[in-house]
Symmetry: C2
Subunit: 301 residues, 2 copies
C-alpha cells in the first residue's frame, strides 16, 4: 500500500469540486499542506473564510510551487491556459491531474503545455450537484462515486496507482478507460440530459407566453427532478457542450432518432409497440437503479 | 361552507391515486362509506388487506350503487368502458369525476355514456410518484398539489364547488381551465418528460451494446433523478401517450425544434449563444422552483 498523504497538494479552482476535495483532503488527512488558487478574489476570500486550505493565491503558478499533486478543477475551456500558467512552476515528478467532464479535449489542451518532468494523468470524478462555488462543496461528494482515470499511453504505473490511492482515500471508486470511451459515456449519462433539462425549460417557458399561463407552476415534483440539471453553472456547461462536441452530437443524434421512433408510434397509435417499449425501458431502469447501482467491477488500471 | 362529508364515495380503480384517495378520505373523515372496485382480484385483495375501504368488489357498477361521489382512477384508455359499466347504476344527482392526465380524451369517452341525471366533472390531481398499485399510495399525496378541474359548459356551479371543497379537504389546491389548455400544459410538464426519460434509457442501453460497457453504471445521481419518470407504470403511460396524442405531438415538435437550435449552436461552436441560453434557462428554473413554487393564484372555478 501507498502512503497516500502528500506533502503539498495544490488545488487550482475551488468551486464545487475543488472545495469538496479540500474538505475531504483535510478530513482524511491526505496532505500536510493545501494550497488554493483561483483567479476570482471573491471566490478566494470565500475559500479563506471557509478555512479550506493553508495558503491562498490568485496566481496559479504560486500555488503549484513544490506541490506533489496538482488538481485542476476549472471550467474545461481554460484547461490549456491553466496548464500554460503552471508549466514552468511544477515540481519535478509531481502528479498533475484534472476533474474535467470531457477528456479528449482536456488532454489535447494540456498535454503539449506540460513539461515531461511531471506525470499528467487526466481524471474525472463523476460526482456533482446543481450547485456551484466553494460554499456548495462537501467532504462526502465523492463517496462511493466513480472516478474515471484516462491515463496516457506512457503513464508511469506507480504514479497511476498513487493517484488512484488518493481518490480511493477520498471515498471514490476507480476505473480506467480510453478518453474517447469516457467522452461517449458521459455524453449520454450526463451531457445530453443536461441539454434536455435546459431545453425543456425553454420550451415550457415559451408555451407560457403563447397560452398566457404559468405552465410550470402546474408541474409535479417529477418535473422538478427532471429539470434540476438545468440549475447547473452556465460557464461550466457551455464549456462541456463545446469541448465534448463530437461525442454529444453523436449521442444526441442517437437520442433524437430513438425519440422520433417513439413519436411515430404515438402518431400512428401503435399501442403494442408503445407498451413493449415502456415495459422494456422500465425494466432496464429498475435493474440498473433499484436493485442496487454500481454493478461495474473495479478494473485494473 | 359545504359539508364535504359524503354518505358514500365509490372509488373505481385503487392504484396509486385511488388508494391515496381512500387513505385521505378515511383520515380526514370525508365519507361515511368507501366502496372500492377494481377488476383485478389481486389488487382488490391488497386493498382489503390494507383496509382501504368499507366494501370491495370487482364489479364497477356494484360499487357505484347509492354513491354520492364516484371517483374513477383507471388507465385513461378504459375510461369509456368504465363509464358504460356504471351508467345505469348511478344515484340521481351523484357527482362523477376522474383523475386522468388527458382531459379532452376522457371527456369524449365518458360524457356520452353517462346519464344526464348525474354531474360529470372531469378532474386531474397533479400528483404522483413513479410507484404504482394500492401499496404505493399515501394520504399526503395531494397535499399542496394542484387539482385541475375542467368543468363542462353546463356544469352545475354548486356541484363544482362541492367537488372543489372535497379536493381541498384532501389537501389539494383547485384550479379550473379548459380541457385543451390542461392537455397542452400537461404535455410539456409531464408527458414529454416521461417520453424523454423512457427514451434516454433506451439510447443509453443501446450504447452499452455498441461499446460493451456498463454505461449507466457510471451515471451520477443526476441521471437517476432525470430518468426516475421511466420507472412509471407502462399501461398508464401508454394510455396517456395515446390519449393526449395531439397535445404531445405539438409539444414534442416545439421541444425538438428548440433542441435542434441548441444542437446547431454546439455544432457551430456558438459560445455566446450557448452561454446566454444556459444563463437564461437557469434563471427561469431558479425563479420557478427555488424561490418557492406554486406562484399561481387560485382562480375562481
Amino acid at each position: 500500500m501507498f502512503n497516500v498523504k502528500f506533502d503539498k497538494i495544490a488545488l487550482i479552482g475551488i468551486g464545487l469540486i475543488g472545495s469538496s476535495l479540500a474538505r475531504v483532503i483535510r478530513k482524511n488527512n491526505l496532505a500536510y499542506h493545501i494550497s488554493i488558487a483561483t483567479h476570482s478574489l471573491r471566490t478566494l476570500n470565500d475559500a479563506r473564510e471557509l478555512n479550506l486550505g493553508d495558503t491562498y493565491t490568485t496566481i496559479n503558478s504560486e500555488a503549484t510551487e513544490d506541490a506533489d499533486l496538482v488538481v485542476i478543477s476549472v471550467p474545461i475551456g481554460v484547461s490549456g491556459a491553466v496548464a500554460r500558467d503552471i508549466a514552468s512552476h511544477l515540481k519535478h515528478g509531481a502528479i498533475v491531474t484534472d476533474v474535467g467532464s470531457a477528456k479528449v479535449s482536456v488532454i489535447s489542451q494540456m498535454q503539449s503545455e506540460l513539461p515531461k518532468s511531471v506525470h499528467f494523468i487526466p481524471g474525472h470524478p463523476i460526482a456533482g450537484t446543481e450547485h456551484s462555488g466553494p460554499r456548495a462543496g462537501f467532504s462526502d461528494l465523492f463517496f462511493n462515486r466513480w472516478c474515471i482515470l484516462t491515463p496516457l499511453p506512457n503513464t508511469d504505473q506507480t504514479m497511476l496507482e498513487r493517484l488512484s490511492a488518493f481518490w480511493i482515500a477520498c471515498g471514490a471508486k476507480i476505473d480506467c478507460m480510453d478518453p474517447e470511451h469516457h467522452d461517449l459515456i458521459l455524453a449520454i449519462v450526463s451531457h445530453v440530459p443536461h441539454m434536455i433539462a435546459y431545453n425543456i425549460i425553454r420550451t415550457a417557458s415559451d408555451l407560457e407566453k403563447v397560452i398566457h399561463s404559468d405552465v410550470m407552476s402546474y408541474s409535479a415534483s417529477g418535473f422538478q427532478d427532471f429539470t434540476r440539471l438545468a440549475a447547473s453553472d452556465p460557464t461550466i456547461w457551455r464549456d462541456i457542450f463545446l469541448h465534448n462536441r463530437d461525442a454529444i452530437l453523436e449521442m444526441l443524434g442517437r437520442f433524437s432518432e430513438d425519440l422520433a421512433v417513439l413519436q411515430r408510434a404515438i402518431r400512428w397509435r401503435d399501442e403494442e409497440m408503445l407498451f413493449d417499449f415502456l415495459t422494456r425501458t422500465r425494466t432496464i431502469r429498475r435493474n440498473r437503479f433499484e436493485a442496487g447501482n454500481a454493478s461495474v467491477s473495479v478494473q485494473d488500471c
